[in-house]
């Protein structure tokens, strides 16, 4: 899952980026409204973590401008202003969730997963394809009830494909979800992950659509 973090405190931003990466997210970090606007237009994020007090304006205004343009990406407001009135203002401004500082990293990760899940119209945290189960919150994949260890990126590729069975995901789309801006992408990285997933979970799970990409076949 790829998330964008908009926060002007350098240390917290770094913590969020590192912490969310440990939680299995691919996180991009920006410090200003301007950069956030550019980033959100360039990349299709699964969720955005947005601070309100930013050096070049209010995060709420950015959120409102997104919503007025019908930009539907899930936004979690992360802010030190945590009164009931602030929370109401934030949620009515179009936020999907609201979390006050300081916060628990695990809770933040769970809330990000929840808003992104809701945005995709799912209620369960478990994705199923035949006897394969992908547990988002437990970050675990099971085949026939037995846990199969996956790397962070293998998990992310499988998650992307299983979220919408039948839909073809191009290599670039998968790379976007796996790698942040500063990360070096190997030329055949996605192919390597697909290969590993097939050998761990079975060939029939992922189909290659020549010239287009990959998909998990619709059942």
């Amino acid at each position: 899952m790829r998330v964008l973090i908009v926060e002007d405190d350098e240390i917290l931003l770094d913590g969020l980026k590192t912490g969310l990466a440990l939680e299995g997210f691919t996180a991009d970090a920006v410090e200003t409204i301007e950069d956030a606007r550019l980033a959100a237009d360039a990349v299709d994020y699964d969720a955005i973590v947005l601070d309100i007090a930013l050096p070049d304006g209010s995060g709420l205004d950015l959120l409102r401008s997104w919503r007025s343009r019908e930009k539907a990406l899930p936004v979690l407001l992360l802010t030190a202003r945590n009164s009931v009135r602030d929370r109401i203002e934030g949620l009515d401004g179009g936020a999907d969730d609201y979390l006050g500082k300081p916060f628990d990293l695990d809770e933040l990760a769970a809330r990000i997963r929840a808003i992104s899940r809701r945005a995709k119209g799912r209620s369960s945290t478990i994705l199923r394809w035949r006897e394969i189960e992908l547990d988002e919150s437990g970050r675990e994949v099971r085949k026939g009830g037995k846990s199969v260890p996956l790397s962070r990126r293998e998990f992310a590729v499988l998650q992307a494909l299983m979220e919408q069975p039948g839909r073809i995901q191009s290599r670039t789309q998968l790379e976007d979800r796996l790698y942040g801006w500063q990360e070096e992408v190997g030329s055949n990285a996605v192919e390597v992950h697909i290969h590993n997933l097939r050998s761990k979970l079975g060939r029939e799970l992922i189909e290659t659509v020549r010239g287009e990409g990959y998909r998990v076949p619709r059942l």
């Binding site: 405190d9 240390i11 917290l12 590192t18 912490g19 440990l22 030190a80 500082k101 300081p102």
Partner: protein, 462 residues
């Protein structure tokens, strides 16, 4: 006298008593004069009557005249005494109570005479035709008694009226002060947090200035409290973000098995703690400066000395950033009438800001300018300056300019402004034409001077 009620009562009572006493005195004197006049007229009439009747008496008989006054005058009976003398000095007749001594010595008209301890007022009438003198006299003590009794009769209602009046005045004063008690009652019952106006619609004109002053104080207090509430909220708010950073990194350090990530998070935590303690330190400084009592400093403090101390204090940072701190010739010779701790605090904040924004290899300069009315101590840097639209706002608490590098608490300039305003000065920020920021402490000229040594040096090298 602390009681307004007692004060008004005493004043009103005293004035009333004075008026009453004057009225009583006037009544006394006018009544007495009237009585004298009436009694004198009676003497005249009695004398004439006796003179007209005296033809019926045999001269020299010495018989008693009929005492007609007895019943008529009650306790003032035998008031009139009458003597009839022949013109050659023989007593022809007298009333029974009259002394044998002549009541008047000679002449006619009114006279007074002391006879055996009693003063008589006498009217003498000479009748040369009959060859007699008629003397009719009053005993003055009887006259006095008459006036006295009359006055005594007036005194009883007078005293009773005074007592009654005192009670009524007291009640009236109490009633008149009711609006004041109403104000007191409202103030007494008021919740300390309730600083709205008193809501007295029909307040007496005399109370209006007082109510106005109280409500003015209320609104100033409310504003002050709102500021404080805002400040506390902002302070708490400002602490949340570094705390969130700390907590996140702590969680990362606990969670990760990667030594490198853990080390980095711990390092970040350390930085965050340093920054948070700087914020807390500045909050305390601000609180202390706000509570500080204004004291007029009595000693001239050398800007150069303070700058030298700060240069030592900041030496590691200056070295790290490759920035130099220079004190201009004028600033080196300047002295200001501010206590040393305040000047240090102010310059420390400004220099700290300048260092944070200075590009490597640049120079921070402390300069001094002396005008007729104002003197300026300026801290000049070569940093990015402040965006024009933000320049008025950055002095506000917790406001950081967008060119700030995420280090500051947003309190430094607030502290500087607070301290400098206490000596009647102010802080002005402006972007320098060649780039960089000029932070100017502007002081009344009487608070700054150049030392003589420098003045001489200046004379030699203009």
């Amino acid at each position: 006298m602390t009681s307004l009620r007692a004060r008004i009562f005493v004043l009103v009572a005293a004035v009333t008593l004075l008026v009453w006493s004057s009225a009583a005195a006037w009544t006394y004197f006018s009544t007495r004069a009237e009585i004298q006049r009436v009694l004198d007229r009676r003497l005249v009439e009695a004398a004439r009557m006796v003179a007209s009747l005296s033809g019926d008496f045999e001269p020299g008989a010495g018989g008693a005249l009929p005492s007609a006054d007895r019943r008529q005058f009650g306790s003032y009976s035998r008031q009139l005494s009458c003597q009839i003398w022949s013109l050659d000095g023989r007593l022809i007749g007298k009333s029974s109570q009259a002394p044998t001594e002549p009541l008047a010595l000679s002449g006619t008209g009114f006279s007074e005479r002391l006879i055996s301890g009693e003063t008589w007022r006498v009217y003498s009438l000479a009748d040369p035709e009959r060859g007699i003198r008629v003397l009719v006299g009053d005993n003055l003590s009887v006259r006095q008694r008459l006036v006295g009794d009359l006055m005594a009769g007036l005194l009883v209602p007078f005293v009773a009226a005074i007592a009654g009046l005192a009670l009524l005045i007291w009640a009236a004063v109490n009633r008149g002060l009711l609006p004041l008690r109403e104000v007191a009652r409202r103030l007494r019952r008021r919740d300390p947090s309730d600083l709205r106006p008193l809501g007295l619609d029909h307040v007496s004109r005399e109370l209006r200035p007082l109510i106005g002053a109280i409500e003015g104080l209320f609104s100033r207090l409310a504003r002050h409290r709102e500021n404080e509430r805002h400040f506390i909220a902002s302070a708490a708010h400002e602490l949340q973000t570094p705390l969130a950073g700390l907590r996140t990194h702590a969680q990362i350090a606990l969670m990760t098995s990667d030594e490198q990530i853990r080390e980095r998070s711990l390092q970040r935590m350390k930085t965050s703690v340093d920054r948070t303690s700087r914020l807390v330190h500045q909050l305390l400084e601000l609180a202390r400066e706000e509570a500080a009592v204004e004291a007029s400093p009595s000693r001239w403090v050398s800007v150069a000395d303070v700058a030298r101390g700060l240069a030592e204090e900041f030496a590691p940072q200056l070295d790290r950033q490759g920035v130099k701190l220079k004190v201009s010739e004028a600033a080196g010779a300047a002295e200001v009438l501010i206590d040393e701790a305040s000047l240090t605090l102010v310059l420390r904040n400004l220099i700290d800001n300048a260092i944070h924004h200075s590009p490597s290899g640049s120079r921070i300069e402390i300069d001094y300018l002396n005008g007729d009315e104002e003197a300026v101590i300026a801290v000049l840097d070569r940093g990015p300056g402040i965006n024009a639209h933000e320049i008025d706002r950055v002095k506000d608490r917790f406001v950081r300019g967008s060119t700030a590098r995420g280090q500051g608490s947003g309190l430094g300039l607030s502290i500087v402004e607070l301290v400098i305003s206490r000596v009647g000065g102010r802080l002005e920020l402006s972007n320098r034409s060649q780039g960089g920021l000029a932070a100017s402490l502007i002081l009344p000229a009487t608070f700054a001077r150049l030392t003589e040594h420098h003045a001489i040096a200046r004379g030699k090298h203009p």
